[in-house]
């Protein structure tokens, strides 16, 4: 078989192997690690794009690792959700570009290769998580990206980062255990670890209790990963204290794994005859709604820029879960698109914030007054991304909100539409506050006056992401069309 | 568009332009300014007088100037009623403008007075020539506002207070007129003045009545119909004498003019009778006649007394019109014209006396004849004229009014009119009496005759003579009586 045929395996293997090689190869030349990481992530991106082209041409396809066909072997499966790997690879690539000048300032030089290694392994874990068709591998890849994420959080200096990493680790470990427990239950019920297979056999299981228990355990486990309210408590600390590129990765990519895990779970259990998913979905809606409001209100009172952005992630995860909970074609496809769009926006936000913080050395919002004058491009990017995260049309953030709001109306929940809109308004409130601070207030801090615009490597990443978070809004229709077939299994339950 | 149909526009624009020109010229060269003012005023008077004569001979023109909104046009027309009023206005203004040269101190503000007064004149001519309600309203509002700087010209506290009162009344009145016009257009689909009234006014009787009430109330403010007269006794004394003359002589009449247009050319005689509003109008006018005259009797301030008299005299006109008899309407028109010159003259006298002696109260007039014989003579003639002593002009109009009322069988109104005339005698006689009574006040006994300067005295003599001529030669063709007959016929028995 040619390389193209093995693409599905390569998209996982390239980053993981590449990442694993970095500490070994570049112990002596830490700065060169950047180029290698960049190259391997670019390769990953190229492979994933070729996969998407194949997907569009042939529809979903599988790859049997080692030639064993499912249900016996380790199967990799590529569907339209899997296409998210292209976006995640892209974001990782941009994060790496950004890291070039940023990381040496916050990470001891000896640990720089380790940093790049972890980022690459994280990407590999994500990719694997997305393309696996097998429950156990799902767990394994989850552990890969989770553990690398814990380590990445701990990368930053200072005691806070360590504490945050431990908090993240503890909750993450519990969630991993729950997922593992659920996988065990499902295997016991169905005798298979292949997801597609298990979905078919669950219905035939003798007792409904273990099935329900498995569903619950999976849901809660992934909810922690996704940081859905009230299991989001680890997120603000971790995302705020990690280095900015790590925060970008965590917020944009890693939490999305939890969301996709929930989607996979719902898809797996959706065929089940006697187990109704409705109550679960209602619960998701409620939690999502609370998350939207709670996250927005909590963000409003933050004074630390990155912490504020972390709470904004809580809000947006809430949106996605509202959409999934509603489950109608409109809302669910909106939620699916929002996964991608939010990834781009949030990466833009964290990287732009990182640039501002890096150049000025200040991280409190009030200290940043007048920085727009000194760093116009970074501040502009942050502004655009803030408008996008608030869902101002026609930015990327609007697509999901519109679809979810419309879905709420379709299913007769006008109040939910109100929540969607009020949430957006609250987000806009702090967005405006930050924009105001940056552009329209005289400098308060002397370091603002001496700050200079971020170096080109940072700027490139930031501007590209900010532009995407605007332009993706214009591409709402093709994106929705793209995810629509993948969403269908979900909507049957709604 | 012939030159003839442009004449109303010229008569309207000429004073406005002349006023501005005088403002520019007069501040540099007084003589030139005077020449401009006098020339413009005379030309305007000649044009309007010619138009009045021509209209009597059957010249009727209508000129559409500009469309301000699809149903609304600015239209001017030449008809007997309008031309008669225009001629009266420009005649009185001619006198007042020239009088003002003597009356006002010779300074820069004098030219401002003339500019405003002449703009005011132009707008009043515009009211006279207006061919529809909106055009009338346009110029009515404009001259009302332009009068404000004239009333407050003295810039005293009293003048400012009177000006404020004037504005409040007039603007409120304007709002009523405006609402009435809207209602007319809504109900009748037309705002042009049509002989015999609009063809149909569709609407509930209540609404039609409300329309009429709005218009009469609005114009009634200007016409000083009681109880809407509040501004008159304050504004007249506050304004400089030449403008008081105009206020009393023609501005109040403009309100009456508006009511006439509305009654005869919007609603029409038959509809008015059907609506049953005429007795009410007559009643209110009658009450105004008596009450205002009674107030005049008790008033010591000369100009105020004259102002009350104006209210009373103008109410005659409305009272006569409310009978709708041809004779009475003729009398009404004649009275408007004759009264304009009589009352204007009286105000000229009052102004002159006040400037020369400082006396503004009737009780201070004692022995005036000793010092200012010519003025006193003119004052006497004019006062007698207003009382209605033959053969002065006031007699003619009162006689016609009385005849008209008797003709229409309105005996109560006739009685009211006679009582009013009696009261007029009561309030005017003391003036005459005091003037001619010799005084033993040592300050005055030995003083020499101190007549005023030429301008003002000349105007006084002119008005006095006018009172005599209009009285003795009233029936000559081309005189107000002749024109008024024609106008009354135009209104009461419109040509098909």
């Amino acid at each position: 078989m040619s390389a193209a045929a093995h693409g599905l395996a390569l998209v996982v293997l390239v980053p993981i192997v590449g990442g694993a090689l970095i500490p070994a190869l570049f112990r002596r030349f830490p700065t060169a690690a950047w180029g290698f990481a960049l190259a391997s992530s670019a390769l990953t991106l190229a492979i994933s794009i070729s996969l998407i082209r194949r997907l569009l041409a042939e529809g979903p396809f599988s790859y049997a690792a080692g030639g064993w066909p499912p249900p016996y072997g380790v199967a990799l499966h590529f569907d339209r959700f899997g296409a998210a790997i292209a976006v995640f690879s892209m974001i990782t690539l941009l994060v790496l570009i950004f890291s070039r000048r940023y990381i040496p300032a916050v990470v001891p030089i000896a640990r720089i290769p380790l940093y790049y290694a972890l980022v690459m392994i994280n990407l590999g874990g994500m990719n694997g998580f997305l393309v696996t068709g097998d429950l156990f591998n799902l767990f394994v890849f989850m552990e890969v990206f989770s553990v690398s994420a814990y380590a990445l959080v701990a990368m930053a200096r200072g005691p806070q980062a360590g504490l945050a990493a431990i908090k993240y680790l503890l909750l993450g470990a519990v969630s991993s255990l729950l997922v593992l427990f659920a996988i065990g239950l499902i295997f016991a019920q169905t005798g298979t670890l292949n997801m597609a297979d298990a979905a078919g056999r669950l219905d035939a299981a003798a007792s409904i209790v273990p099935t329900a228990l498995a569903l619950g355990a999976l849901t809660i486990g992934f909810m922690v990963k996704a940081a859905l309210f009230p299991l989001h408590v680890w997120l603000p600390d971790a995302h705020a204290s990690a280095p900015a590129p790590v925060s970008a990765l965590l917020s944009a990519v890693v939490v999305k794994a939890g969301v996709i895990g929930i989607i996979r779970t719902l898809q797996t259990f959706s065929d089940h005859g006697s187990l109704q998913l409705m109550p679960l979905q209602s619960l998701l809606i409620w939690l999502g709604a609370i998350a939207v409001l709670w996250g927005a209100v909590a963000a409003l009172v933050q004074s630390d820029l990155k912490r504020l952005l972390a709470y904004s992630t809580v809000t947006n995860i809430g949106y996605i879960f509202i959409g999934l909970g509603i489950g109608s074609a409109t809302a669910a496809s909106g939620a699916a698109v929002h996964i991608i769009n939010h990834a781009v926006i949030k990466a833009a936000l964290f990287l732009a914030a990182g640039a501002l913080i890096h150049q000025s050395g200040l991280r409190h919002i009030d200290d940043l007054r007048g920085l727009g004058e000194r760093m116009p491009l970074s501040a502009l990017a942050l502004g655009v991304a803030l408008l996008a995260v608030a869902g101002v049309p026609p930015t990327a953030g609007f697509v999901g909100k519109w679809q979810i709001g419309l879905g709420a109306l379709e299913t007769g929940r006008p109040l939910l539409m109100g929540v969607v809109i009020v949430g957006g308004l609250l987000v806009l409130t702090y967005g405006v506050r930050i924009i105001n601070t940056l552009f329209f207030r005289p400098p308060l801090h002397v370091r603002v006056v001496t700050s200079r615009e971020a170096p080109p490597s940072m700027l490139a990443a930031i501007l590209l992401l900010a532009a995407s978070s605007f332009l993706l809004g214009l591409a709402g229709k093709p994106m929705l069309d793209f995810v629509a077939p993948a969403i269908l299994p979900l909507t049957d339950t709604g | 568009m012939t030159l003839t149909s442009l004449l109303p526009l010229i008569a309207l624009a000429l004073p406005i332009i002349g006023g501005l020109a005088a403002l520019g010229a007069g501040r540099r060269n007084r003589r030139l300014g005077i020449a401009v003012v006098a020339g413009t005023a005379v030309t305007t008077f000649l044009i309007t007088a010619l138009l009045a004569l021509a209209a009597k001979d059957g010249l009727l023109r209508e000129m559409t100037l500009v469309q301000i909104a699809p149903p609304v046009w600015i239209v001017f027309r030449i008809d007997p009623l309008g031309t008669l009023f225009a001629a009266t206005v420009s005649g009185l203004f001619l006198l007042a403008l020239i009088y003002a040269f003597g009356y006002l101190p010779d300074d820069r503000r004098q030219w401002r007075f003339h500019a405003f007064a002449m703009a005011c004149q132009g707008c009043m001519i515009g009211v006279a020539f207006a061919g529809n309600l909106v055009t009338l309203l346009v110029f009515y509002e404009l001259f009302s506002l332009l009068s404000y700087p004239l009333i407050t010209h003295d810039r005293t506290r009293v003048a400012v207070a009177a000006g404020l009162k004037y504005l409040v009344y007039i603007i409120t009145g304007g709002a009523f007129v405006w609402a009435g016009i809207i209602l007319v257009f809504h109900l009748g689909g037309e705002i042009r003045f049509l002989p015999g009234g609009l063809a149909d006014i569709n609407g509930s009787p209540g609404l039609v009545l409300a329309t009429f009430a709005c218009l009469v109330t609005g114009f009634g403010v200007k016409a000083a119909l009681m109880p809407l007269h509040g501004w008159v006794p304050d504004a007249h004394p506050a304004a400089p004498a030449p403008f008081s003359a105009v206020l009393s002589g023609v501005m109040v009449a403009t309100g009456v003019f508006g009511i006439l247009r509305v009654m005869f050319e919007i609603f029409g005689v038959s509809r008015l009778i059907e609506m049953g509003v005429l007795p009410w109008l007559g009643g209110i006018a009658g009450a105004s006649v008596l009450l205002a005259a009674a107030r005049a009797v008790g008033e010591d301030d000369l100009k105020r007394r004259l102002a009350w008299s104006t209210i009373s005299q103008m109410a005659y006109v409305l009272m006569a019109v409310s009978t709708i008899g041809g004779q009475a309407v003729t009398g009404a028109f004649v009275h408007i014209t004759h009264h304009a010159f009589l009352k204007g003259g009286l105000f000229f006298c009052a102004g002159l006396v006040a400037t020369v002696t400082g006396a503004t109260r009737i009780s201070q007039l004692r022995g005036l004849a000793q010092r200012m014989p010519v003025t006193s003579l003119a004052l006497t003639v004019l006062a007698l004229g207003l009382v209605g002593i033959p053969p002065l002009s006031g007699f003619i109009s009162k006689w016609l009014l009385g005849l008209g009322l008797a003709d229409a069988g309105a005996m109560v109104r006739l009685g009211v009119m006679l009582a009013g005339a009696l009261l007029a005698a009561v309030y005017l006689w003391p003036i005459i009496y005091r003037i001619w009574l010799p005084t033993d006040d040592p300050r005055f006994a030995h003083s020499h005759s101190r007549e005023a300067s030429g301008w003002m005295l000349g105007i006084l003599i002119a008005t006095g003579m006018l009172a005599v001529i209009l009285g003795t030669a009233a029936t000559l063709p081309g005189f107000p009586l002749d024109l008024a007959k024609n106008a009354a016929q135009w209104l009461v028995e419109p040509p098909p």
């Binding site: 419309l406 329209f440 214009l474 929705l480 | 469309q67 301000i68 699809p70 909106v134 404009l142």
Partner: protein, 497 residues
């Protein structure tokens, strides 16, 4: 039915201004380039907008579809008679405002930012006018908020920021409510296209319709400053005068009023609204706003504050007229867009000129100002008289049609309201004129006329006020365009009864 033509101009008009705004941002450090780009933004748009007039009068509708960004949500531009009328008003006024602003703002800080956003506002406003659907309208409506915000807080002091906060809070909440309404419309009608006769005809649920009405009218009503959603407007007075002119006369408040009219006529449609009866309540609210706004204006001593409250009052004329649902009243609503704009902008320009020349901001300081700045105050007088409804001036036309429309709708009470409002207008404009001309100051007033760059826009606007009041056939403000807009909205064939 109008002929639909695909044409680039509907999108070119906003785009070219946006590009010029970009020019300001890039090259605006130099005063000369700033002026050139600003004038180009205003001037080019002016030419493009006016070039569409003959075609529109002939019955064509220009369309340009940019693309669909979400299923059913497309960005598209469509130039119909009403939209073009609004665009003409803004395009014309914008040239004047830009000239005025260039002179007025000389020497201020952050001019690049100021003129950049100023030019962006031009772009968004015309895009609002040309929006084919509710979504495009909303999009640029929100963008307008964003673009005006830096202008409002231009002074960057505490007061300006407070005002800016208030402005944003009101308008963004309004925007959110519109979004809710838009979702409801899309959900129940399946489309957001603005169409003559409305798009909600097939919706039966009375509650849904009420909710749509409340959200859309309420949302757009924020910018139209209908009470009780008006509080941002007087606060926003802290902005520099050209911005106040922009906010109060041209762009922002008019965008709100324009939106409400669009919602009433092109989302609901006249017939549906008549059967629903919601508009009556809007009429009452607008009537209340007219009177209450005037009374508040009466109590202000700061000239610009009085102007602001007067704006609140005047805007409700448009809403009232639109809510009466009769052709004549609709005509009043559309024409008042122009009348109020030209009249109010004259006043703001004058207020700015006075402040610029003499530093006077309060009415009780204006004694004798008419002798210092005679031409400026003459323009103010014309504007004041227009608001009072003196015939031959613009305000009269509005009141005329509005009252006729009210009578046709059997709401004669509004005629009395018009009269009362005219009186209140007299009560708050005349004292200013009185002070300017008739009040003794004791000191001789030196002639100190406004510089010509400020005076010329003032004079042209005042001239327009007269032209609007006299020229139904005037070539520069086509009355017939407003008429054809009304004909389209009401589906009439002939003239307007």
């Amino acid at each position: 039915m109008p002929i639909e033509l695909h044409d680039l101009r509907p999108v070119l008009a906003p785009l070219i201004s946006a590009l010029c705004a970009g020019g300001v941002f890039v090259m605006g450090t130099s005063g000369r380039w700033r002026a050139i780009w600003s004038l180009a933004a205003a001037g080019l748009k002016f030419v493009i907008v006016w070039s569409m007039l003959p075609g529109t009068l002939a019955g064509s509708v220009y369309i340009f579809r940019v693309g669909e960004i979400l299923p059913g949500l497309s960005i598209a531009f469509r130039v119909d008679a009403f939209g073009l009328f609004y665009a003409l008003v803004t395009a014309t006024l914008w040239v004047l405002t830009t000239v005025y602003a260039l002179a007025y703002m000389k020497g201020s800080h952050a001019l690049k930012r100021f003129f950049g956003f100023f030019a962006l506002c031009i772009s968004t406003t015309v895009a609002i006018a040309f929006a084919e659907n509710l979504f495009t309208l909303f999009l640029f409506y929100e963008l307008l908020t964003v673009c005006t915000y830096p202008l409002v807080i231009h002074d960057q002091d505490a007061e300006a920021r407070r005002a800016g906060r208030k402005y944003l809070a009101y308008t963004l909440c309004g925007g959110a409510v519109i979004l809710a309404g838009m979702l409801l419309v899309f959900h129940s009608a399946g489309t957001l296209s603005l169409a003559e006769g409305g798009i909600l005809g097939d919706v039966d649920d009375h509650r849904v319709l009420l909710l749509i009405f409340l959200t859309l009218v309420g949302g757009f009503g924020v910018k139209a400053a209908i009470m009780p959603l008006h509080a941002w407007l007087p606060a926003a007075m802290v902005a520099p005068t050209p911005v106040s002119a922009l906010l109060h006369a041209v762009a922002v408040v008019k965008a709100g009023a324009f939106g409400v009219v669009r919602v009433l006529y092109d989302v609901f449609g006249v017939n549906l609204l008549k059967s629903l009866g919601f508009a009556t309540w809007l009429g009452y609210l607008a009537g209340f706003t007219i009177i209450a706004g005037s009374i508040m204006a009466l109590r202000q001593n700061r000239l610009k504050a009085r102007l602001a409250w007067s704006t609140i009052s005047q805007l409700s004329y448009i809403l009232l007229a639109a809510s009466l649902l009769t052709p004549a009243a609709a005509l009043a609503a559309i024409i008042h867009l122009a009348n109020q704009a030209f009249t109010k902008i004259t006043m703001f320009f004058v207020a700015g000129a006075i402040e610029h020349n003499t530093g006077k901001t309060h009415i009780d300081q204006l004694d004798g100002i008419g002798y210092r700045m005679p031409w400026t105050m003459a323009a103010f007088t014309i504007a004041g008289l227009s608001f009072m409804g003196v015939p031959l001036l613009a305000g009269f036309i509005t009141k005329w049609y509005l009252s006729l429309g009210a009578l046709a709708a059997d709401s004669g009470g509004f005629v009395a309201l018009m009269a009362l409002s005219g009186l209140l207008n007299a009560a708050y404009w005349l004292p200013i004129i009185y002070r300017a001309y008739f009040r003794e100051t004791g000191i001789p007033q030196l002639r100190e006329e406004t510089p010509w760059m400020l005076l010329a826009p003032i004079g042209i606007c005042a001239g327009y006020v007269i032209l609007l009041g006299t020229g139904a056939q005037a070539p520069l403000m086509p009355f017939s365009l407003a008429e054809s807009a009304v004909r389209l909205a009401f589906g009439l064939e002939g003239g307007i009864p």
